[in-house]
Symmetry: none
Subunit: 137 residues, 4 copies
Amino acid sequence: MDSGNPTIRFRLDRHSGLPVYRQLVNQVRHGIQIGVLRAGDKLPSVREVVSQIAVNPNTVHKAYREMEAIGMVRGEAGVGTFVSAQPQQWVAQDLESELRAALEAWIANALSSGLSTSVIVSMLNQASTMLEQRVSR
Amino acid sequence: MDSGNPTIRFRLDRHSGLPVYRQLVNQVRHGIQIGVLRAGDKLPSVREVVSQIAVNPNTVHKAYREMEAIGMVRGEAGVGTFVSAQPQQWVAQDLESELRAALEAWIANALSSGLSTSVIVSMLNQASTMLEQRVSR
Amino acid sequence: MDSGNPTIRFRLDRHSGLPVYRQLVNQVRHGIQIGVLRAGDKLPSVREVVSQIAVNPNTVHKAYREMEAIGMVRGEAGVGTFVSAQPQQWVAQDLESELRAALEAWIANALSSGLSTSVIVSMLNQASTMLEQRVSR
Amino acid sequence: MDSGNPTIRFRLDRHSGLPVYRQLVNQVRHGIQIGVLRAGDKLPSVREVVSQIAVNPNTVHKAYREMEAIGMVRGEAGVGTFVSAQPQQWVAQDLESELRAALEAWIANALSSGLSTSVIVSMLNQASTMLEQRVSR
DNA sequence: GTGGTCTAGACCACA
DNA sequence: GTGGTCTAGACCACC
């Protein structure tokens, strides 16, 4: 009914390797951080998302459940899903520690595969450099 | 019984998240790269591996089949499994490209979460530095 | 439920001596060759195949993995398994070269058994003729 | 002891795809057919064969057991293995029917893989022709 | 002893 | 629902 303000539009990168539900969570988080989404804003309904990006409803459900579990968002039955109050602070911290852990896991994998430390270091440096150039492009 | 040349001993990291059979493949690849395994060398039999690292025979078999499919190794029924001739070239590329892809996915995840490029870059640099210090320790 | 497009139905020859998983691979290859299966078409799910031909899920999975390793097919977790784009070229060669090798082995066996070449030749011709008549029957 | 007359020397084709024990059987059969081996002739002992062609003793045993089961040969404990009397007739017939069955199986495989009859026929004819040319070479 | 195939089941992440 | 990994065990041909 109150579909007037679409608040956020999801987009999908099918080739990124990232799980779909994770992309959705990330985009909401991103929206909150850059101010597109504010406390109390309504997220599109599951059905709307499904028609937008042609994805399985269960996948959207999972993303919404995940966000709710973190406290990023609150779902009210029969009404909709809304951005929580003051989610900004921990959102960022939570994300960083999660990413840091993932990067640690990546390094552990590389080491346990027998790659030399110097090669791993150079891969990290190379990625870092590429990223810096991409932004100044 | 006295198989004399133990060629390679597998070790398992149960917490790495990497599938067991992939760990085995990586370790053989590693062994070939550092010269512990050479063309014609015999890998331990499936049953030997099973008794070494307490894993299901099928899992080991799966790893061996994978290596054979890539051409890294050749299995002869009733005889054993042997390192192929001239496997060196692609061996290195395979593993590195896999890890590079995983790192790219990590960056994609970070970017799509709304993390600023500078933060990501600093995380990469920090990890790289930590790794270098760990080796000189 | 109403998956509508049955794309391919597997059949099994339990007495052919060919491993079940190889029969499945061959039949998909055949389906692609005769145009029943085209790029992007969905293969029946592992569980569907299981209920069709009464075989263990792992066996079907093995066949699907084999096809994926060759590049004939691509499996997406949670979605299904789909025929790859442009698989036609090598598809034909693969099967034929395999059969040709088997026929060479048969001849080698016959020769090394001391059968005269003329007898072998006549056996081949006889088989060939029988096959032609069977088709015009 | 009576190693004076070596009667038959085995050779192995490692790339033929034929099982080793089968090659041994075939060679004895061949030897009988061309008259190199006659009724009562002694086959080399398992140990002699092992030292000749570097093969597992069990493999030689299996070949000898197989020949004995067919009646081609008779083993006397502590003495040796000897060619049976009048083995020629059925030896040939037995072999031919066996080969014919194998060829039928090959055709069945080809058909069940979805190869067209005409392609199979042409493969057979091609093999037959190649074989004829090889002999007139 | 060796690897190869298959069955019968479990649990997981993802859609 | 989908495929992916793994366990526990069987039987086979071959060495």
